[in-house]
């Protein structure tokens, strides 16, 4: 066999490349999140710390925010917004309440996942407080009011008149314990 050491070198570099590409597959996971966050493609809402001075000069535009609620199949809960939609002024904080009820005879932990459409609006949908930030525990038969505090950014592009904020609740604890 010719050039044994050259063969070894080529082989090792190809094996290294293979391992690298395996890692690249995993690197796609954070890359995908970053990409979606930067472009707002995924409808992921933005989180802000509320600042008092932001509230002082709301724009004179009005946009409609609709509230939508979904329950993933495994979760024995009902979820609905207290009001279906409100008119908001960009640059001002508002509160909305969802009513959640546990139909099950046991404690269940759920997690809400938000989504905003149209997806361009998601970059300008700021939340300072949300029940979706943490897991929620509901005791057997319990009903709770859950709060979300949000602001639509003043830079919201022209033409967006209508924003839908949608929540889907998923079950976190797998069984009834």
């Amino acid at each position: 066999m010719r050039n044994k050491s050259k063969i070894k070198r080529t082989t090792l570099s190809l094996v290294f490349f293979t391992v690298l590409m395996f890692g690249f597959g995993y690197a796609l996971v954070p890359l995908y999140d970053v990409f979606c966050k930067l472009t707002g493609i995924n409808g992921k809402t933005q989180r802000v710390v509320e600042l008092e001075n932001q509230q002082s000069h709301p724009s004179d535009r009005w946009v409609k925010v609709r509230f939508d609620a979904n329950i993933n199949g495994d979760l024995p809960w009902t979820l609905k917004p207290k009001v279906r939609n409100i008119k908001v002024q960009p640059g001002k904080f508002y509160e909305a309440t969802y009513i959640v009820h546990n139909n099950f005879s046991g404690d269940v932990v759920g997690q809400a996942v938000p989504s905003v459409s149209p997806s361009v609006a998601s970059l300008y949908f700021m939340k300072s407080e949300c029940f979706c930030f943490v897991n929620q525990l509901l005791k057997a038969g319990e009903t709770q009011e859950m709060l979300v505090r949000f602001e639509v950014d003043k830079d919201l592009p022209e033409g967006v008149e209508d924003i839908t904020l949608s929540y889907t609740f998923f079950r976190v604890n797998p069984d009834n314990s």
Binding site: T10, T11, M21, G23, F24, G25, L28, V113, F170
Partner: protein, 531 residues
């Protein structure tokens, strides 16, 4: 001619016998043969699943199998044909021919070669065994999209492990090919003198080592999502199922070129031989192949136009997809220019190659239609897609592979195959494959969805025609097996140069090729390096 092959006198010296020869072989020719036999076997296993699919679709309504089993047939048929038939057939040809074509005594890593073959039977044993398990085989489609695939029963971990094994086997094969071509060429065989089949396989191998590890990562995430509580694709845990589609098609699109590029290489060998002219535009062929390979990493989302990509993304992937038509067009025109004013004869390998050029181009055109974002919303997941990829994979890749077998069979066996039967096989295959797949274009345009065992009665006629074509195609392939066996057993003796117009080092060794060839590097003359 035979001065080049010092080994041919002691042909029988180092050849182990019996089971040991096949199980422990590190000889590139033996392993190539094993790959080819395995691929042909899997072609019939996957083919019989296709027969079940076509039988069920022969008439509207549910006839023979229940929908769950139907869907597992669709899924396993795809996995077997891609990973069990077309890829191993290509690797088998590469094993047999690349050392002969570049004047090397064997593959650079013969032991790894043995391993990469013997992983395959075990991987497919795992995969096929799932059909007999509780809950049935995987039925969520070969693309394994979550969350659907996570509902697979006991078969799920077997599916994932089988995919891992297939990936490992292919990656080892690819590494072996690259290392061989980069280090084992005979003196004088520079990169731009290599036969195009070698070139396409080097590029294919790079696609394999770059894309298969990503798939391995993706299916590992599926496995940990199901059993270890991770949430890569689980929205409840902050993941996203669409991410899997991105990962999958980042592998999946290069994969379709992994299946197609070796076929390009094959017809680039066969057409010049039977047109008795050098390949037109050799360098442009190499560059076109390389640019197709590079572009294939930037078009994956054209498989996902309907998932809700932003318009800018859809435009990017549409234009990138259209761009691939340019180098592909270069290749098609080069093949036509090679035939132009050539002294053509139409033996079976040439017939398959010409059919490849025509039918692959039809598949390419329907691919262009699918690549146009706004119309893809209409065609997505319909039989139009099924027709498209069967034109590029069956009448494309498989036809080229069959042509390759006819072309090199005299070199492997030492006998000429039965030309008359070969031509009958060609015409039967070509006519029936078109009866099988052409009507599916119409079905798709009319809105028949894929992966559904039942359909609206308006689709009945075309489905019946398609099924009849399917059964006829399936039966005609038995003739191929008969021709190959007949050729192995005997026939007209083949000369070293089995085809008058064939060029390349493989035709300088006697037929059948001795067990060991080019143990000392051949001295290359200018004539031998002609394409």
């Amino acid at each position: 001619m035979s001065t080049l092959t010092q080994a041919n006198d002691h042909d029988h010296d180092h050849k182990p016998t019996g089971l040991k020869r096949w199980f422990f072989s590190t000889n590139h020719k033996d392993i190539g043969t094993l790959y080819l036999i395995f691929a042909l076997t899997m072609f019939f296993v996957g083919g019989s699943m296709a027969m079940i699919i076509r039988a069920e679709l022969f008439q509207p309504g549910l006839q023979f199998v229940d929908p769950q089993f139907y869907n597992s047939m669709v899924t396993v048929h795809a996995l077997i044909m891609i990973f069990g038939a077309v890829m191993p057939a290509g690797v088998g040809l590469a094993n047999w021919m690349i050392p002969l074509m570049i004047g090397a005594p064997d593959m650079a890593l013969p032991r790894m070669n043995n391993m990469s073959f013997w992983i395959l039977p075990f991987a497919f044993a795992l995969l096929i065994s799932t059909l007999f398990m509780e809950g049935g085989g995987p039925a969520g489609g070969w693309t394994m999209y979550p969350p659907l695939v996570l509902q697979t029963g006991a078969a799920f971990p077997f599916l994932i492990l089988a995919v891992h094994f297939l990936g490992i086997s292919s990656i080892m094969g690819a590494i072996n090919i690259i290392v061989t071509v980069f280090n084992m060429r005979a003196p004088g065989m520079t990169l731009m003198k290599m036969p195009l089949f070698v070139w396409t396989w080097v590029i294919t191998s790079f696609l394999l080592v770059a894309s298969l590890p990503v798939l391995a990562g993706g299916v590992t995430m599926l496995l940990t999502d199901k059993y270890f509580g991770t949430s890569f694709f689980n929205a409840a845990g902050g993941g996203d199922p669409v991410l899997f589609q991105h990962i999958f098609w980042f592998f999946g699109h290069p994969e379709v070129y992994i299946l197609a590029l070796p076929a390009f290489g094959i017809v680039s060998q066969i057409i010049p031989a039977f047109a008795r002219k050098p390949l037109f535009g050799y360098a442009s062929m190499v560059y076109a192949t390389a640019s197709i390979a590079i572009l294939s990493f930037f078009v994956w989302a054209h498989h996902m136009f309907t998932v809700g990509l932003p318009v800018k993304g859809e435009l990017f992937f549409m234009y990138a997809t259209m761009l691939i038509a340019v180098p592909t067009g270069v290749k098609v025109f080069n093949w036509m220019a090679t035939m132009w004013k050539g002294s053509m004869t139409f033996e079976t390998p040439m017939l398959f190659s010409i059919a490849f050029v025509i039918l692959f181009t039809i598949g390419g055109f329907s691919g262009l239609m699918l690549g146009i974002t706004p119309v893809d919303f209409q065609y997505h997941d319909t039989y139009f897609v099924v027709a498209h990829f069967h034109y590029v994979l069956l009448t494309g890749a498989v036809f080229a592979l069959m042509g390759a077998v006819y072309y090199w069979l005299p070199k492997w066996t030492g006998y000429m195959y039965d030309e008359k039967l070969g031509q009958i096989h060609f015409w039967l295959s070509t006519i029936t494959a078109n009866i099988l797949f052409f009507p599916q274009h119409f079905l798709g345009l009319a809105g028949m969805p894929r992966r559904i065992p039942d359909y609206n009665v308006q689709f009945a006629d075309f489905n019946m025609i398609s099924s009849i074509g399917g059964f006829a195609y399936g039966i005609s392939q038995l003739l191929f097996v008969y021709i190959v066996i007949k050729c192995v057993l005997g026939g007209k003796k083949a000369k070293a140069l089995s085809w008058e117009g064939a060029k390349g080092l493989e035709w300088t060794v006697p037929s059948p090729a001795p067990h060991h060839t080019f143990e000392t590097p051949p001295k290359l003359t200018k004539a031998m390096l002609e394409h």
